[in-house]
């Protein structure tokens, strides 16, 4: 997917996570709760309520979601999450 440089990658990630949080069917734990934790997690880091290092914990969580969620929706959340965190980490933090 292509975005121009004026777009906030934090907002894009948040939109992705809002989408997954809402569209999760809610059956399995990794997806239902995992999506909520990723979303609240990046918001907390942005607001300074969690230290930037918390993003590493969330990356580990997304790795669990990738292998433990019941269906493709939960398994795919880690793709945009890791991509944006790895490449635009400072945009998410600051």
């Amino acid at each position: 997917m292509i975005f121009n440089s004026s777009r906030s990658m934090y907002n894009i990630l948040r939109d992705y996570l809002e989408f997954f949080t809402e569209e999760s069917c809610g059956q399995c734990t990794p997806c239902r709760v995992g999506c909520q934790q990723l979303l609240k997690g990046i918001e907390a880091v942005k607001k300074g309520q969690k230290a930037p290092g918390y993003l590493n914990d969330l990356k580990k969580l997304s790795a669990t979601m990738k292998i433990a969620a019941k269906c493709g929706l939960g398994q795919s959340v880690s793709n945009p999450f890791n991509s944006i965190i790895d490449n635009f980490r400072e945009e998410v933090i600051y």
């Binding site: 809402e22 059956q27 399995c28 734990t29 709760v33 914990d57 969580l61 433990a68």
Partner: protein
């Protein structure tokens, strides 16, 4: 055709199991414990909690051990680094949406999530607290069941229980994603929906989300009030299960110790629901014979088949789902309510007590009894006949609170009047028991001889089949019953409301021609009741059933009509079965309830 075997390795140890076995079951053969949460032996597989994930070699994803069948050449790792860290994450996620106020929780110490959290040391609150304020409002509308959504882990055991075992579906999953919750029709409170209060969901809830409404403090208050005389009655199925919560193995009979413990706790009189179970047989047996006479001799139109009325979950089910068949229900109250009515009349009179100063407590394997005792019809003594109902689990808790070392207690006997019972009453606790007890007495009334079965054990009505049917040809009748000579008496027994519905549908369609039907709301009968120790599953129900029948075999008297106190109460108080006094105190009526 026999199933072929599959060879696999779990944690590098080879084994062969039958085709179709899940990884979870296969691991048990090797004594590897895989933790589970949403899995329950009685229920279908859901695979949604993901606590049981394991690694299968060559696969990118982890597999839920409860939901994955083994295949030839499979290599499973149940404890690899990947598995352990995923599991810990999953438990932490569950904790983050769980109101983990453990010390204040009723299930503290009995919670499966708490146990998992402890095993995986997942208490550091890594993740953000997600408990919603809306979920912190506890539904206490039902007199039987309390629902606290903030403690729900969405395992859906309750939903599957209500649908698969009971066919009621009072609880269902609503909404999706972060809004998902377990709720009732239109999010109504539990007392306004089609819930039978059976408590099977409570028995299967791994956390404190669904619990019985507990009345322990109210009972302590009554005991501690010197001006109050507190009587307690114990149901048949309590004595064979109470031990499970107090250090005995499953299937241990603890009747005598339970009586002694109740005395230590401070109840003024320890009496037995079995007494009124015997009384139920006399009243209900006569009611059946009267109905048969009306149908066969007088040609009157009476409601047949007659259906038992001991199980309050079943009664409420009928009132909601099959209101056209309320006339089929026996008008007899359940043994608990008969006892309550007699405790505040006959017992009070004999002991010279003011019924206003009697508090009547009953110990039941059942949560629906808590609802039943509060029904407005159940005040025939002029007071609420039974004041408080405690489950087997609540009694175990009271015994612990009182600091009693249950395993070391001596065996004691029930107090008399309303304390004497027979083996026929004990088997009320097992599915088919009421039928068997009724047949033992009715047969003898009609023919003057004992039922023609070895040791009075009527095997065709026993067992764990969902719906059982049997027929007996009546022969050798006494002169006044000769209209029954040669009649084929057809009986049926169902346990679990899903099975009851199958039976009722057959009756509605006119496919079945029964005279007498026994239904118990809970699988296995009362011994598998919603108020029984947790866990309850098929294996445990079978052991409890064996204990019930062993208790019956150990009783000197095994036919209800031989209970000397029953004879006495008819002589002194009730005069005759189905008499005026009986109708006033021992019989009731039912009401039509809405389906939504």
């Amino acid at each position: 055709m026999s199933k072929s075997t599959v060879n696999l390795k779990i944690n590098n140890i080879p084994l062969s199991v039958e085709e179709g076995t899940t990884i979870l079951e296969a691991a048990k053969h090797l004594n590897f414990k895989i933790p589970t949460l949403c899995n329950h032996d009685d229920l279908s597989c859901a695979g949604n909690c993901r606590v049981c994930v394991v690694e299968v070699e060559g696969q990118r994803l982890l597999s839920a051990a409860c939901a994955t069948p083994v295949f030839e050449g499979m290599h499973v790792q149940t404890n690899s680094e990947k598995v352990r860290s995923s599991r810990k994450h999953i438990i932490e996620l569950l904790l983050s949406e769980h109101n983990a106020d453990c010390t204040k929780c009723y299930k503290n110490g009995f919670c499966e999530l708490q146990t998992l959290a402890n095993e995986y040391r997942a208490g550091d609150q890594l993740f953000i607290d997600l408990v919603k304020e809306r979920d912190k409002i506890i539904d206490i509308s039902s007199p039987s069941i309390q629902k606290d959504d903030s403690k729900c882990v969405h395992c859906q055991r309750c939903v599957r229980t209500c649908e698969e075992l009971q066919g009621v579906s009072a609880l269902a999953v609503v909404y999706k994603g972060d809004h998902q919750k377990i709720s009732t029709f239109m999010n109504k409170p539990l007392n306004e929906v089609v819930c039978t209060n059976c408590g099977q969901c409570v028995n299967r809830c791994p956390t404190g989300a669904l619990t019985e409404r507990n009345y322990i403090e109210e009972v302590w208050d009554a005991i501690n009030d010197p001006s109050i005389h507190v009587v307690v009655q114990t149901a048949p199925a309590v004595r064979i299960a109470l031990g499970e919560d107090l250090g005995f193995p499953v299937g241990e009979r603890v009747t005598g110790k339970m009586v002694e413990a109740l005395r230590y706790i401070g109840f003024d009189s320890v009496l037995d629901t079995d007494f009124t179970a015997d009384l139920t047989i006399i009243e209900e047996g006569n009611e059946l014979l009267t109905r048969l006479k009306k149908a066969l001799v007088d040609g009157e139109k009476v409601a047949l088949p007659m259906m038992t009325s001991c199980s309050p979950g079943w009664i409420k089910f009928q009132e909601h789902i099959f209101p056209n068949h309320l006339n089929n229900l026996s008008t007899c109250k359940s043994p608990q309510q008969m006892f309550g009515a007699l405790a505040k009349t006959y017992y009070a009179k004999k002991k010279g007590l003011d019924p206003a100063k009697i508090v009547s407590v009953s110990i039941m394997p059942c949560t629906a009894k808590k609802f039943e005792c509060q029904r407005p019809e159940m005040r025939s003594s002029g007071y609420q006949d039974v004041d408080y109902v405690l489950t087997t689990r609540e009694l175990a808790r009271m015994i612990k609170q009182a600091g009693i070392d249950f395993t070391k207690l001596e065996d004691a006997h029930y107090d008399s009047i309303l304390g004497e019972s027979t083996g026929a009453a004990v088997i009320f606790g097992a599915t088919g028991g009421v039928m068997e007890a009724a047949l033992r007495t009715a047969w003898e009334v009609v023919t003057g001889k004992p039922v023609p079965f070895d040791n009075l054990n009527i095997m065709p009505v026993r067992g764990m089949e969902g719906v059982k049917a049997a027929s007996v040809k009546i022969t050798g009748t006494l002169p006044e019953w000769n209209f029954l000579e040669g009649v084929e008496l057809n009986v049926a027994i169902a346990h679990g409301l899903a099975n009851a519905r199958i039976l009722m549908n057959a009756i509605e369609k006119g496919e079945a021609n029964y005279h007498f039907i026994e239904v118990m709301a809970c699988p296995g009968g009362c011994l598998g009741g919603g108020g029984q120790p947790i866990p309850t599953n098929m294996e445990i129900r079978k052991k409890r059933t064996e204990a019930i029948y062993a208790e019956d075999m150990g009783m000197p008297l095994r036919k209800s009509h031989e209970n000397p106190e029953v004879t006495q109460i008819y002589e002194e108080f009730l005069t005759k079965p189905l008499g005026h006094k009986s109708h006033e105190l021992l019989h009731t009526h039912y009401k039509v309830r809405k389906r939504y």
